[in-house]
Symmetry: C2
Subunit: 374 residues, 2 copies
Amino acid sequence: MGLEFKIEATDGAARRGVLETARGSILTPAFMPVGTAATVKAMLPQSVQETGADVLLCNTYHLMLRPGAERINDLGGLHKFMNWSGPILTDSGGFQVMSLSNLRTVTESGVTFRSHIDGSAHELTPARCMEIQQMLGSDITMVLDECTAFPATVDEFERSMELSLRWAAACKNEYTPSDGKGLLGIVQGGIDATLRERSAKGLIEIGFDGYAIGGLAVGEDQSQMFETISGTVPFLPKDQPRYLMGVGKPDDIVGAVRRGIDMFDCVLPTRSGRTGQAFTERGTVNIRNARHADDPRPLQENCSCPACTDYSRAYLHHLVKSKEILGATLMTWHNLHYYQTLMAGLRQAISAAKLDEFCEIFDENQKLGNIPAQ
Amino acid sequence: MGLEFKIEATDGAARRGVLETARGSILTPAFMPVGTAATVKAMLPQSVQETGADVLLCNTYHLMLRPGAERINDLGGLHKFMNWSGPILTDSGGFQVMSLSNLRTVTESGVTFRSHIDGSAHELTPARCMEIQQMLGSDITMVLDECTAFPATVDEFERSMELSLRWAAACKNEYTPSDGKGLLGIVQGGIDATLRERSAKGLIEIGFDGYAIGGLAVGEDQSQMFETISGTVPFLPKDQPRYLMGVGKPDDIVGAVRRGIDMFDCVLPTRSGRTGQAFTERGTVNIRNARHADDPRPLQENCSCPACTDYSRAYLHHLVKSKEILGATLMTWHNLHYYQTLMAGLRQAISAAKLDEFCEIFDENQKLGNIPAQ
């Protein structure tokens, strides 16, 4: 029952592993593109797969509101609905309830809120959260947690972390285990090391198929985030996957992998793609900048994605300036390809025990900045 | 020099032919998807090609304003810019000057106007129109014409048609012929049969590689359009391609093919796709309608496009209601596939001398209307 996680190589705190699910293997460290409303925005699922993605993250909050979990269940589940046959991780909805919904009220039993789409009333309890993710057909289910606002006092972090622990226990009770699927706990506690330790130990006592670190990438700076990861990882089981939620920029991911994280998700490559920002080996490129209007060169010279092999910066600039849909598609494609190539590089470096060297080259290239204008 | 057109079969007034260009063959009757701003909106060029499109239409007006004809020329031409290796027909810009630009002034020498994008001043003369299309690298170039407003008096139609004839002669003088590329004249004259005849004869005297019928699909009803086609076609050379500009709905195309038209372009399949309207064998389907929210069936049962083979009406409904980019892509894909399948069916029917039978079945199916709700 549950998920099988094999660690195949380590380099310092970093690990290269394989998470086996009923719908396929996930090579770790892994980046999960975000398919918010049952679509990775602007992309066909087979194109997402071609970038090297093994697994998607979909948002329970969005899907429960539209088109509705019962409807997706009736239609045969999320995989069939969105034409993605690989594993899907669904979040608990807790984060979006806090960031998107209206009139939310948190009580011991759960959270009630109004939809940001049509104002309709909804409730997420641990039991309902498990039911929804089950109806979606999730391969990796997340417990309901309260994502504490940042910054907050230690008392607030503590109250919130304790509530999340009780909800985690309730989720575990409600969750029906099955082969090749799993339930992950979420460590909370803000940037307080003691609270993070207590949260981790509390979750391990309940017992999960893996452990996420939540409540980061919410406004703290990178050094606080890295410190919190380094302070939390030692309390997590060595033989189970560790997932850093909602992170992040390429250098966030590299730093977190070095600190022992196995899984990531983030809207950055997709969202930035739609606004004209590309991630490249030499840092970010804003394709809207007029300097690209006549540039026949690709976004990134040695990149094998369709945006780079078939199109110039000048064309991408034209598409994005003209608000053409193809601009969003090609920029997103490149960014997802960049992220997956970065993950493959990290995995290879860990296997070869050359992670320090890889990270040094990564940093040097990032610092080079965009190629000079012609 | 110029374009080679071979007619391989006829059925009544309808013809099945091949228009040979330097960049590939165009099977006729042909439908040209519209790639307004150097992109068929929401589609990758290889996906457009997979639908069966041999040739694209791109808009001179849009491209001269943004990114600019000189820029595209410097970047190696439109084909390289937009990654389309097949033939491209460019229009003259005249139609969009009338429908989109501001402060336009038509004189004997051409038309001056202000860009709808940034208000900048521009001029289109016959010479400039030929120069722009040459810089774009157009395979099939259209003469500059004045698209007369509809309705108009016979005097207005006549004055405008005569001006277009003089511009056509000037374009012919400015155009540099080359092998596998061609220049097409445009018959004007509104819905007046005498003017259309005079326009056709005037153009033939100048001599072009093919003849378009312009100034239709501008507000006249279908019977007026068909009457004008039937009244014009007899005056056009039998051995050269005939192109009906800006048309149309599937039944417009079927009716025009029966009247001897070889080429079409229209924004309907792409524009409708982005607003949630699908063209199917059983007429149009508005996927936004709530009746589709739970429907597991494809848009069209026997359709082999990705939108129909991989996705349900319920999913397409969800995407379009959620304003997801993938919704625009899949709906456009289906519509372009539907149009190309229709053209392939027409070509096959002409070859088999069974066009009447084909049209009868087409009409019957269209009248059936959308499949009943489940």
